[in-house]
């Protein structure tokens, strides 16, 4: 074949790939991600569409071809994915409406890109603020930078708020400051080491990330975790959910300056983390989930866990009731930061944000894993109001469901045999794993050769959902900002790896 005919063949491939992805979404699939992989200098693009399974759609872009027709014009949910792809690979999605740097702004003309998947090491890269646009245009409009060093104990992120003084017209979200280069870091790791790194991708959802990673490896190896391990996984994951949802309620109470509520919720959260540390030796339950199962039994007896849960739940419920009757608090949440059902559905909003806006998907129910398939699961709550209030109500319902699930998991655990781990060996191949983090669905796509990672792409719910933050400002003013941010309950570490 001549060079020209190769080009034509590739162009046809890319067009077919693009059409296939759009068709899958039109037929009711949910767009769940897009990422690249360097394969000997070429770039393999993988789009993920969630239906009954998470289906990958691949196409190869040869090294000479640095441009492809962007998905974003037809699939707005791909906007951030294509910006990230551009940052990491230098691939240009032609027709993208706003291809500003997202995770790694480099000097104009920079040739070195991390290109995850390529075996060659990347030397130090330093993000440059100067390539991120900061100009705003409009009568009387100016910007207020919130961050990257925030007022309080927050992760580093910058919201450049465009405002004429009171209303928020548009928040520019700049996440790049704490980019850690984790995707490259995974490469060359064994699965046992990589699961520890997965726990540190989004530290407040350590269990969910470890689970999604372990599931991906287990799928490649064709191994199921033993029942006792599955039960322990559910127990830890549900406690993690309780701690995260309490943290959201705590931050909302903080935004409303409810000092006593803050103290009470902070105390409950501390109790959950202490229970987690008694079970696992780590306040974030790290080091327990391993590919093939879990590394050890809970550190305290089943009866003691039950006692702890029975004490915690009513204590939390009492403060929840009081909080949800405090009108000065609720007034700040109602109709604040609305995400309409049509936007949520079009974007495929994940987790509590989706469930508060009519998108009911929950990976524990739609694609059950570990113990969730056999446990009697409460129906996930689905509301349609889409405001900060609805998001909080969804979280409270999930807190109670988490206690129910945790108790059911203990019942399974006491009757299961003592096998905690099955051998995953040194698997070869590609796999996609998922788990429902407190923030929503987490995905891991892994490529393994002889049990060693050549590519690992974590896709957190935080990354997928944060872009919706742009759309929550309608008549909202500056003082609504902390409420909307807290109601999202996301972690920046999971957004910019």
């Amino acid at each position: 074949m001549t060079a020209e005919s190769v080009d034509q063949a590739v162009t046809a491939d890319v067009a077919a790939w693009r059409a296939a992805v759009l068709r899958a979404v039109e037929r009711g699939g949910r767009f769940a991600g897009l990422f690249g992989t360097d394969v000997r200098g070429d770039v393999r693009l993988t789009a993920l569409v969630a239906a009954a399974d998470i289906q990958p759609y691949d196409v190869m872009l040869p090294a000479a071809m640095t441009e492809y027709p962007a998905l974003t014009p037809d699939l707005p949910a791909a906007a951030w994915y294509e910006r990230e792809l551009h940052d990491l690979f230098g691939v240009h999605p032609a027709g993208h409406p706003r291809l500003d740097p997202l995770v790694l702004p480099l000097q104009t003309g920079a040739v070195d890109r991390p290109r995850p998947g390529s075996p060659s090491p990347v030397s130090g890269l330093t993000p440059s603020d100067r390539t991120v646009p900061s100009l705003v245009v409009g009568a009387g409009v100016f910007t207020i930078p919130h961050g990257p060093v925030r007022s309080g104990v927050f992760e580093s992120i910058e919201y450049l708020v465009e405002t004429p003084g009171e209303n928020v017209l548009h928040p520019q979200i700049r996440v790049h400051a704490k980019h850690r280069g984790l995707e490259k870091r995974f490469e060359g790791m064994t699965t046992d080491d990589a699961v520890l790194l997965a726990e540190r991708v989004e530290g407040i959802a350590s269990v969910a990330h470890a689970l999604a990673f372990a599931h991906a490896v287990e799928r490649v190896a064709g191994v199921e975790p033993p029942p006792a391990a599955a039960a322990i996984r559910v127990l830890l994951a549900e406690l993690e959910r309780v701690a995260n949802h309490l943290d959201v309620a705590l931050r909302l109470a903080e935004a409303a300056a409810l000092a006593v509520a803050m103290s009470r919720l902070g105390w409950h959260k501390e109790r959950v983390l202490r229970l987690q540390s008694r079970l696992s030796g780590s306040r974030f339950a790290r080091g327990i989930v391993v590919p093939g199962g879990v590394s050890r039994l809970p550190g305290i007896a089943a009866a003691d866990i039950r006692v702890a849960l029975d004490r915690l739940e009513p204590a939390i419920a009492a403060d929840e009731r009081e909080l949800m009757l405090t009108s000065s608090f609720l007034d700040r949440l109602r109709t604040t930061g609305v995400i309409g059902p049509s936007l949520a559905a079009r974007h495929g909003a994940l987790g509590p944000i989706g469930r508060a806006s009519g998108v009911g998907e929950d990976a524990r129910v739609t694609r059950p894993y570990d113990g969730y398939g056999i446990l009697d699961q409460p129906t996930p709550p689905v509301l349609v109001e889409g405001d900060a209030m609805a998001r909080l109500r969804v979280r409270w319902t999930e807190v109670h469901a988490a206690f129910t699930l945790a108790r059911a998991a203990i019942d399974v655990l006491v009757s299961a045999d003592e096998v905690l781990r099955r051998d995953v060996g040194r698997p070869d191949g590609r796999g996609i794993g998922w788990a429902e983090a407190p923030q929503g669905e987490v995905l891991y796509a892994v490529d393994l050769i002889d049990g060693v990672l050549t590519r690992c792409k974590p896709r957190s719910a935080s990354f997928h959902n944060l872009v919706l933050f742009h759309d929550t400002f309608d008549t909202e003013i500056l003082t609504d900002f902390p409420f909307i941010e807290a109601s999202f309950g996301l972690s920046v570490a999971g957004v910019v790896l």
Partner: protein, 267 residues
């Protein structure tokens, strides 16, 4: 009104630490200890983050500044490695995080302690802390924020968190040292009055932990700091628990009660 009564419902929840021992502080496995054994490659290979090394004499050592507390070495070789309970993991020198300790470390640490005491004298009885995230995984922020919950309530010790670097005496830095945070970190330090105390909070902040080496981080925050601003306190943990962070702050201020400082706890 209901909230006022609710605030009284459970009495005092606050720990008496550091004046009195705290049961949870002492049940928490905050570090890995090592017994005397020859260093062999099998032992070194156990560690995913390169924390297991060897001393000058060829004995096995553990660098707690690199340890992410995964427990793999303790599970595989309980004859050599063990959990050390207690959350007092902060040290005044990077070298003091390595066990077994070197003999000459003690004198060097005394010197550091003296210099630090000189500096913190200016703070008086209250101290304001500015937190800064330089590439954390997010869990560190939870643990730092926990210090103001009623269980730890650091306000009782005259410790406050402040939004403005202009009001801050102590800079508490978390995270693996993301390059994108170099400029914000420099600007924050420039805005702070002198003297200033810097705490590297967590294994990631000390060495990068599992995140390093990577193209976007510097293997901890030490090399991110401007010339002339050293790290004063190193606190290990992945993430460090609130008690560890509190220990670090009190150690920096010279407020650990006698006999319960790091010297007494060295294994």
């Amino acid at each position: 009104m209901p909230w006022v009564l609710r605030g009284l419902r459970n009495g005092v929840l606050t720990t008496r630490y550091p004046r009195r021992a705290d049961a949870y502080e002492q049940e928490f496995a905050g570090a890995v200890g090592v017994s005397d054994a020859p260093s062999v490659p099998e032992l070194t290979a156990l560690c995913p983050s390169g924390a297991i090394g060897q001393t000058d004499l060829g004995r096995v050592s553990v660098d707690r500044g690199r340890c992410v507390l995964c427990g793999r070495c303790v599970a595989a070789r309980p004859d050599v490695f063990s959990w050390v309970v207690g959350a007092e993991t902060a040290r005044l020198a990077r070298g003091a995080l390595v066990v077994p300790p070197l003999a000459e470390d003690d004198r060097a640490i005394e010197e550091v302690r003296g210099q630090l005491a000189e500096r913190v004298r200016a703070f008086g009885r209250s101290v304001h802390i500015r937190h800064l995230d330089a590439g954390s995984d997010g869990a560190e922020e939870w643990e730092v924020a926990a210090l103001v919950n009623p269980v730890y309530d650091v306000h009782r010790l005259g410790i406050f968190f402040t939004a403005s670097p202009r009001h801050a005496d102590v800079l508490l830095v978390t995270g693996a040292g993301a390059h994108g945070m170099i400029e914000p970190l420099t600007r924050t330090l420039e805005a702070m009055a002198r003297p200033v105390v810097v705490i590297a909070a967590g294994t990631d902040a000390i060495s990068g932990g599992l995140v390093s080496p990577s193209y976007a981080t510097s293997g901890g925050i030490c090399t991110l700091l401007p010339v002339g601003v050293p790290v004063d306190v190193y606190v290990s943990g992945s993430p460090p628990s609130p008690f560890s962070l509190l220990h670090a702050i009190l150690l920096a201020l010279g407020k650990m009660p006698d006999g319960r400082g790091p010297a007494a706890k060295q294994p």
